[in-house]
Structure formats: structure tokens, C-alpha cells
């Protein structure tokens, strides 16, 4: 007998921006018109994401606060240049946050212990602990699952670059592989992740 089975393919989309219709996007549009109240609302919605990510990279609390402030000021200043057609507000903001955090790391190398061996141990260990130590959210489950599909080298390279803020040459030195290999692994690793996560563009 023929039975109807609910489709398993509709995975919940959890890129915050795409899940809820245009909340942050519409706030950003109001910010672009100089609406300070909208800026406050946007801050309330996304600042824990921004601060959490920046602190993950910088570790230092005071520096993380400074960079978070810079990022929000930049959101205020350049909201006029945000184009919704080119991506969600969360993508725009977190991309900016990541880049500013990395800029800070690069400009103050001495401000952080960049020792290669300590670096790799910490970051890879931190990745392994994610699921046990944090409140498990859907996206973090999915990301962990997707990361586990990568080869060891892809996973280490992507993890060190994204969470550690290391450049490809630093990653190459840490993993003792040629720079060209790291470049390739970062790309095919990200493509694999994209496909695993079902990110459509």
C-alpha cells in the first residue's frame, strides 16, 4: 500500500537573516536613513553574535569590546552602502566583524601569543570541545557535523583560519605543509562545508 511520508529534505534554514523575514535587513534600511532607534534595536539583536565572534578570535576582553565598538560604528556609518540584494544583514555584519577582528590580530601580533605550537593545540582542542561545553544550538550542531565531513587537513586549516584568525602562511607553518596546499585546502574545504550545510547562493 502506498503511504505518504513527510519529506525529510526541508531542513530548517537557520541563517538568522533568511529564517525570519527581513527583520535585520529592514532595521538596517532604517539605520541607513539615520534612525538611531533602529540602530539600538539592531544592536540588541545582533551584538551578542558580534561580541561572541570577536571575543572568540581575540580572547582579550577589553580588545574585543573595542573592536565590537568599531564594528558597530562602521555599521552606522556604512549602512547606507548595504545592499540587501547582495546578501543578508547577518552575513554583512558578521563578515565585517570577522575581518575587523582579524585586522586587530594582524596589527598587534605581539598582543597575543602567536606561538605556533600553542596555537594549533588550543584551536583544534577548542573545536573538539565545542559540543560539550556550549549550549547546543542547531547551527552549531550542523556546523560541527559538516566540519566532521572534511578531511583532517581541511578541517584544521579552516578552523585555524576562521577561529584563530591566522593567515594562510601562518596556517601552513603550523601544519607544516606548503602554502599552496593550504590555499587549496581552504578553498575545497569551504566548498565542501558549503555543500554539507546546504548554503545556496
Amino acid at each position: 500500500m502506498l503511504r505518504l511520508v513527510p519529506s525529510e529534505t526541508d531542513r530548517p534554514e537557520d541563517f538568522e537573516s533568511t529564517g525570519k523575514p527581513a527583520t535585520k535587513e529592514s532595521l538596517l534600511a532604517r539605520v541607513a536613513e539615520g534612525d538611531q532607534e533602529a540602530f539600538g534595536e539592531l544592536y540588541d539583536q545582533i551584538s551578542p553574535r558580534v561580541f561572541g565572534l570577536i571575543r572568540r578570535l581575540l580572547v582579550d576582553h577589553a580588545q574585543s569590546e573595542e573592536v565590537t565598538q568599531e564594528v558597530f560604528l562602521e555599521i552606522w556609518q556604512s549602512a547606507t552602502r548595504y545592499q540587501p540584494s547582495r546578501g543578508g544583514a547577518t552575513t554583512w555584519i558578521l563578515t565585517m566583524a570577522h575581518r575587523r577582528a582579524v585586522d586587530r590580530i594582524r596589527s598587534s601580533q605581539s598582543g597575543r601569543d602567536r606561538d605556533v605550537k600553542i596555537g594549533i593545540r588550543d584551536y583544534v582542542a577548542e573545536y573538539d570541545n565545542v559540543a560539550e561545553t556550549v549550549e547546543t544550538t542547531i547551527e552549531n550542531e550542523r556546523v560541527k557535523e559538516a566540519l566532521s565531513q572534511l578531511t583532517e587537513l581541511q578541517r584544521q586549516a579552516v578552523t585555524l583560519a576562521y577561529y584563530g584568525g591566522y593567515s594562510h602562511s601562518e596556517v601552513a607553518a603550523m601544519l607544516s605543509v606548503p602554502i599552496g596546499t593550504v590555499k587549496t585546502r581552504l578553498r575545497d574545504g569551504m566548498i565542501r562545508l558549503r555543500d554539507e550545510l546546504g548554503v545556496a547562493s
Binding site: 540602530f39 553574535r49 563578515t95 591566522y166 590555499k183 550545510l197
Partner: protein
């Protein structure tokens, strides 16, 4: 492997911010030329953000919100980009300073160099006549008459120009020393200049501001001396017409009605 194939391989490192600054620039240039690369970068940027969203959210320190709200109340927003760049949106915008600049601010920019060149080519006869005219004019100095009130007014005017929706800036090096940032609003018809490390002039000389229109006609916009503190801030007198070049010359004390020397800095406002 061709150059673009090699560049294409950098897409992963690019979205992870793992490129060096020069590599990033080269890659962004490449992005402008390749639709395929832009599509890939857009999807990989979303993927990078997905990794970011797996980070535990942490509430920022309590005081930050209030500080920011206060700060944005005094911070101008950038003018929207007129022509959208080919680089996908996922690419983060430039830093706070840079994003506020509309005119490219290499010092001196090619446009600034062109503007200066335009001044240099002014007919010699006009300059000589102008020089003769100013000898007759002996001005007094205008130091510290209104004191604090003047400073306050200047600060408020300056803020207004920076806050104007169409506020624009250009930076240029000053020959003889110093770095000048001109800021103007065509809507307000006003402009100002902020100069770092402007050298003090000897006795009998002054700095003079000018608006020079598209017909190379110069209109005086005030004289001033270098501040002792290191940062000189001056509002230009009169009204700016869009397209005017803003410039500074060194003139005999009291100022001139027409420039008698080549500009030490000049930037076009359009």
C-alpha cells in the same frame, strides 16, 4: 596554471580573511572581472558566516550600548555609493575612516595634482598684478579676539559639515609639511580644512584659503596661522560652489585678493 586560475584558488582564503592585504586587493580586482568567482565568494562568505554563527553568543559589556548610542549621535554616515562595485556585498566594507571618504585620498591624489597643476598654469601677468595689489594692503592680525566663543562656533560649523548627508572629504599632503583633510558639503555650500603638523610661518607671511572655480578664478576664503597645538582647523569663508577647487597658498601678512604663489595644497571638490 594561468594567473586567474591561481587567483581563483584564493577564494577560500579570501572569505576566511586569511589573505595578506596585497593579496586581498589583487583578489578583489580579480573578482571584478569574474562573475563565476563572485558567485563562489558569495556562497563561501555565507558558509564562513555559518561557522561564525556556531560561536556562542556573548552579551557585550553593559556600558557599550550607551557609549555607541552617544557616539552615533555625533557621527556622520557615509554617502551611498553611486556606482555599485562589482565586488559582492559579503565582502566587508572598508574601515571607518576610509568608508567616510568619498574622494580617493591618496596624498596627493591624481586629481589634487591636476588641480595644483591648473593653478600653476595661471597666466603670469595675473599673478604679478595680484602681487602688486597686495603690497598696498596691510592687514592686521586677527588673533584671539573672540576667543572661546569663536572656537565653539567653529567646532559646531565643522560638525555640521561632517554631518551633512552629502559630506565629502579629500586628503592631500601639504608641500612644505603637513597633511590636510578638506571636508565639504555642496548642499550647505560650506567647507573646512583640518591640517596636521602645519609648519609655522615666519613674520610677514600668512596662510590663505581659496575657492577656485572651474574658470580658474580664485576667490579668497580667509587667512590663518598654523595652530601651535599640531592640528589646525579652519572653516573657509564664503560659499563653495560645487566643482570648486579648495586650496591654500602662502601670502604676505594680511592676505591677498588673488593668489601670489603656487598652492601648497589643492583638492577638487568634484
Amino acid at each position: 596554471m594561468t594567473d586567474s586560475e591561481e587567483l581563483h584558488l584564493l577564494a577560500g582564503a579570501y572569505v576566511l580573511d586569511a589573505l595578506t592585504a596585497p593579496e586581498r586587493e589583487r583578489f578583489e580586482e580579480y573578482l571584478c572581472t569574474s562573475e563565476e568567482a563572485r558567485a563562489e565568494v558569495a556562497s563561501l562568505s555565507d558558509t564562513a558566516v555559518a561557522i561564525g554563527l556556531a560561536t556562542v553568543p556573548v552579551a557585550p559589556p553593559a556600558g557599550l550600548r550607551a557609549r555607541l548610542m552617544d557616539q552615533i549621535a555625533h557621527t556622520a554616515q557615509s554617502a551611498p555609493l553611486e556606482t555599485s562595485r562589482a565586488v559582492p556585498n559579503a565582502e566587508a566594507p572598508r574601515g571607518p575612516d576610509e568608508s567616510a571618504r568619498v574622494t580617493p585620498s591618496v596624498s596627493p591624489s591624481p586629481a589634487a595634482a591636476r588641480a595644483a597643476a591648473r593653478w600653476y598654469t595661471r597666466p603670469v601677468a595675473v599673478l604679478v598684478a595680484a602681487a602688486a595689489a597686495v603690497v598696498l594692503f596691510v592687514g592686521g592680525t586677527i588673533v584671539g579676539l573672540a576667543g572661546a566663543r569663536q572656537v565653539e562656533q567653529q567646532a559646531s560649523d565643522l560638525t555640521q559639515i561632517y554631518a551633512a548627508p552629502d559630506s565629502q572629504q579629500a586628503k592631500a599632503g601639504v608641500s612644505g609639511g603637513g597633511k590636510a583633510t578638506f571636508v565639504w558639503s555642496a548642499e550647505l555650500g560650506r567647507s573646512a580644512v583640518v591640517i596636521q603638523q602645519l609648519p609655522q610661518l615666519g613674520q610677514g607671511k600668512t596662510y590663505e584659503l581659496w575657492y577656485i572655480d572651474t574658470q580658474s578664478k580664485a576667490t579668497p576664503a580667509g587667512i590663518f596661522d598654523a595652530a601651535s597645538s599640531g592640528t589646525t582647523v579652519e572653516l573657509l569663508d564664503g560659499t563653495m560652489t560645487p566643482g570648486d577647487t579648495l586650496g591654500i597658498t602662502i601670502e604676505p601678512a594680511g592676505g591677498s585678493e588673488k593668489p601670489t604663489t603656487a598652492p601648497i595644497v589643492a583638492v577638487p571638490s568634484a
